[in-house]
Symmetry: C2
Subunit: 238 residues, 2 copies
Amino acid sequence: MHNETPLKGHISKRFDHELEDIRNRVLTMGGLVETQVNNGLKALLESDSATAKIVAESDYAINSLEVEIDERCVQILARRQPTAGDLRLVVAIIKTITDLERIGDQAEKLGIFELELIDEGASSSQFVKLEHLGTLVSNILHNALDAFARMNAEDALLTIAMDSKIDGEYEALQRQLITHMMEDPRNIRNTLRVSWCARALERIGDHATNICEYVVYLVQGRDVRHTDYASLTQTNDD
Amino acid sequence: MHNETPLKGHISKRFDHELEDIRNRVLTMGGLVETQVNNGLKALLESDSATAKIVAESDYAINSLEVEIDERCVQILARRQPTAGDLRLVVAIIKTITDLERIGDQAEKLGIFELELIDEGASSSQFVKLEHLGTLVSNILHNALDAFARMNAEDALLTIAMDSKIDGEYEALQRQLITHMMEDPRNIRNTLRVSWCARALERIGDHATNICEYVVYLVQGRDVRHTDYASLTQTNDD
């Protein structure tokens, strides 16, 4: 297939360069999103209003990167007409940035909830309950971005398996919060806010899982959405 | 650009046919999703356990359509290498089916929450509070699918403007539910379930809005995500 005329070589090189450029922008976007999530967690756990403000107002950079990368993907499809692996990469990128942008939306909520709490002069002591869930979510996002950066399907499948731990922790936390609401009804509004943060974190885990699914699809050419992951990977439970 | 040799005409025709076939599958998927949402609402509002069961178990058809359409889109990109409007249509379809699938996930939750309630032998009387929000969401979804089917950017922009009404109704409902939880703490678990259903409905509205944004992008070639819609359309407030 590789007809290495000088012209063809030149075109391929420019194409590779463009594709690499898009990939780098996705990694930049991933880095911004990861910072937003970690800052959101910091704002909640340390009652840090300055960081909360940054998180609540930094979404625009992520949004504009999404629109920009999306446009570049459409342009590369139109002008370069990639096939096979390159085509799947572009499609996976189009999907990945949608999930990254929505992770950004969820992270923004963490900052907004913290600011609301501070505005009302309410205690943020309950937010410490989010620490374990927050660590799990921060880890799954980091691993998902790593799997994407290195296009490693094996790591992506292991990362997908982490999501059930997050779901378990989320369910346990919700039960705990409901009990707390029954015991202390006057504080329901604040407890609900903790619950909404937990939900935002859980959804970040879901989006990270989606990104891993695109990586598997890209590398192995198989679609693992809506399948039982247990049959796809042996998770190490040590 | 249109070089109408018989061969070219033949290829275009087959291409148009393939594209039309994909578009029809998206409309089928949209129809399934709409049925799921309306059945989910029926199950909640009429305490209808048979319908709730159908909703809780019908997600697989939507999921498998998503995977199938996605694969057809990649194939058409690889084999036909569409450009301009056709390319944007394929990209818009790839995005649209992701949102349709997620609407299906949210509808499934409505069925599951209703079944949980029945299992616990709890009263479903509070679910009537969801009626107005449910009607708004059912309408926005219907309009979004209509705008997609007819590729009508004007209708899409008008539909996007409907989402702020949904957000307002959602916020009002949440405040009402919080008050109810404070007044009747023993019933918190059930009231929370109503709140989760409201959240699922609100997210369906968001996904419907996303679909409308893809239609605008497709027809007008401009990206309206992350912009102020008020500046794009005059809504009729009569």
